[in-house]
């Protein structure tokens, strides 16, 4: 059993900062769960509490059903990949891999033969043959990354923890390692907790994503579910590039008003009464003659395949995304300062209380 449970887990620092506020989250066995959120939201704190690197202020954490609040980090059966990799600089790669295994005592003691076998296995899996005898400083970033993963895996951890492991790599290597991480997970099936602020990593890697903001869990669901049906406006704005358009206003009798802007709500939202935040993704905004909202084009960002229009709709700024492949939002090209009509009442639109 290697599931992880955060139960009302709270962390308050000495200076009164609440880093994590009553987190309730369950990571199922074999699941790849990504903790996603902006920097300083408490996602890393959650990971460090689980690892035992910080003391829990309130609530508890269970691994495989047993409470680990007061277990030392080494006894929790975890492997961790640090953002900086944290390879021991004075040891060779082989010694780095063996270090944790040599520290095991008692029943879980690992013999020398077993250590060699496990290192061989990790070497095979991560293609470390050429670097086993080298010191970490002689390795490239990608190699260091793989050694760090190997060091975490040779311990056969119940849960694998990763703290922004890709953020120190250049863009090309990051894309490759992202793919490799997913492949490794599928081969091993180790329960994995992965912390990142990068929504692309979250969308591509996660079985399930837990979005955290200001120490509180906002939503935990599959990535697509979070994208299509965000639980609140924070999740809606955090997932997706460019971010979802959020318009604060009031709905009455099927019409949504925000300042000078007003339009008829789409059918599925027509029953909404009172204040709300209307959300529509940029790729769903339709530019064309059929639109019922007149906008001025304030700016155009041409990215090649995609074009992003910044539109001024009665004092509200709206982003519209046009894809060349045609799957997108608009038919016509617009120039700056020209006037266009858009349609905001689309079937995928959402409305949030806050």
């Amino acid at each position: 059993m290697s599931d992880v449970e955060f139960i009302e887990t709270t962390k308050v620092y000495d200076d009164g900062t609440v880093a994590l506020d009553s987190l309730n989250l369950k990571v199922r066995e074999g699941e790849f769960l990504v903790l996603l959120g902006p920097s300083g939201c408490g996602k890393s704190t959650a990971l460090r509490l689980l690892a035992g690197l910080e003391d829990i202020t309130g609530g508890e954490i269970r691994i495989g059903g047993s409470r680990v609040n007061d277990l030392p980090p080494g006894a929790r059966g975890l492997g961790m990949v640090f953002q900086s990799y944290a390879l021991y600089p004075h040891m060779t790669v082989r010694a780095n891999l063996a270090f944790g295994l040599r520290r095991t005592r008692g029943d879980s003691r690992v013999g020398e033969a077993e250590i060699s076998a496990r290192i061989e296995e990790a070497t095979e899996m991560l293609d470390l043959h050429k670097v086993l005898g080298k010191k970490p400083r002689e390795l490239s970033g990608g190699q260091q990354q793989r050694v760090a993963i190997g060091r975490a895996l040779v311990r056969r951890p119940k849960v694998l923890l990763m703290d922004e492991p890709l953020s120190n790599l250049d863009a090309r290597l990051r894309n490759r390692m992202r793919f490799e991480l997913r492949r490794l997970h599928e081969a091993h099936g180790t329960t994995t907790l992965y912390v990142t602020h990068d929504q692309v990593e979250a969308m591509t890697l996660a079985d399930r994503v837990a979005i955290i903001s200001e120490g509180s869990l906002q939503q935990s669901s599959t990535p697509l579910e979070a994208y299509n049906r965000p639980a609140n406006s924070f999740v809606a704005s955090f997932l997706g590039t460019p971010a979802m358009n959020l318009i604060e206003g009031t709905a009455e009798q099927g019409v949504f008003r925000a300042g000078e802007l007003s339009f008829a709500l789409p059918g599925h939202l027509a029953g909404w009464r009172g204040p709300g935040i209307y959300g529509v993704r940029p790729e769903d905004v339709r530019i064309g003659d059929s639109g019922d909202v007149r906008c001025r084009v304030g700016g155009v960002e041409r990215l090649g395949g995609d074009t992003i229009y910044h539109l001024d709709a009665g004092g509200n700024w709206i982003r519209a995304l046009w894809r060349r492949s045609g799957g997108g939002a608009t038919g016509s090209d617009g120039d700056e300062r020209s006037e266009v009509s858009v349609s905001l009442a689309v079937a995928s639109a959402l409305i949030f209380k806050e």
Binding site: P73, G74, A86, P89, H90, F99, R103
Partner: protein, 439 residues
Amino acid sequence: MNGGVSEGLSGDVSGGAGSITGGAGRTGSLAERWYVPAEIQALRVWIPFAALVNLIVLAGEALRGGGSAQLGALGGMVLLVMLWWWLPDGRRRWRRTVGRGLAAAMLVLGALSLLQRDASFYDLWATSWLVAPSALALYWLSAGLSGSWCAGASDARSAELGLTRNRRLGPRLETFALHTFLLHAVAIVVAPVVWIVDVSISPGNILGGAIGDAFTLEHFRVVLGGETFWLWTRNSMIVALGTTLVGLLLAIPAGYAFSRYRFAGSKGAMFVFMLVQMFPGIIILVPYFMVMKTLGLLNTSIGLIIAYSVTALPLCVWMLKGFFDAVPRALEEAALLDGCTQVGVFFFVVLPLSLPAVAITALFSFLTAWNEFLLALVFNTSNDSYTLPVGLASMIPATGQLWGDFAAASIVVSIPVVVLFVLFQRALIQGLSAGGVKG
């Protein structure tokens, strides 16, 4: 064909430069206005240096009371300053004539003083600082490209060639000058060592005499054969090793704690450590003596070990804290997750990474204890409990100084220090530079 090309080139250059001429009032191509032969540039720097050396020689001769040598140095200095003042500028031809006259006069002066002086190493050296600069100046002002430049006979083409030549010649002249300077610097450092070695191998307990005129090992025999020297060495070893051990045992945990943990007064304590370092040691000499007397630790190694460890501790803690600060916390966290205890983390990860710092801390403690004189003199009243520095000093009483024995003993005493430095050289450089990065 060649000539045509070069004419075209120089014509172009001078034509182009013509339009921007005016600032300095000089005409000619860019190259012509910029070109000063590397030899002349070298002379501009070297002559003041040579004058300075002659001034030093002059001061030395005044102390020694050498009349004619004094005159030679004074004359040389004056001539060098004049030559520097009237160095050719590439336009005024009379400067070349004056410069050559001054250099020739200096050469004659040098030759005369060479005849006057003894043939000792020092005298040869002093005279060479008259002869060499004057000969070089005379040659460079007269011959070759620099000579014709001095004569004002340089045109655009030769200036361009000269600039190319400068790029090659300039660095060579610089290297030569630099090495001459470094040789002098080394000589200043090495001279006392050579002197003390000479005293130690000269017969009789006297200072002075020519370097390397006689050889005897009698002083080494006396020193190494006597019992007291070995007694002092034993005392010094016990005190120095004891200080190192106690110092490290206290400084390593303290440095780690100051680096990693926040506790009440941690900042204040580091400040006080620094403050204590700023008092001159002699202020606490009397209180120290009273304490040691009360505790009955006078004339004991323990007393000195305690005193030295405490003295060296602040700096050791600061050095180690700086180094421990540089060990990333993530490494310790990784080790914790790998199953280490807090103590294990320290011994398996932090300490191995900090070995260079530990090495310099050890060396520092050892040297503090090995070289210290004042406390050892005050705390020890009997000859049997002297450490080496106090013992050495006791060889030079007000009457009957045993200079030869003293010199021999000094050399023997400095051997362990030298050996330690050689052994720890690499760690020392690493440790010091790491500390430097931390600030």
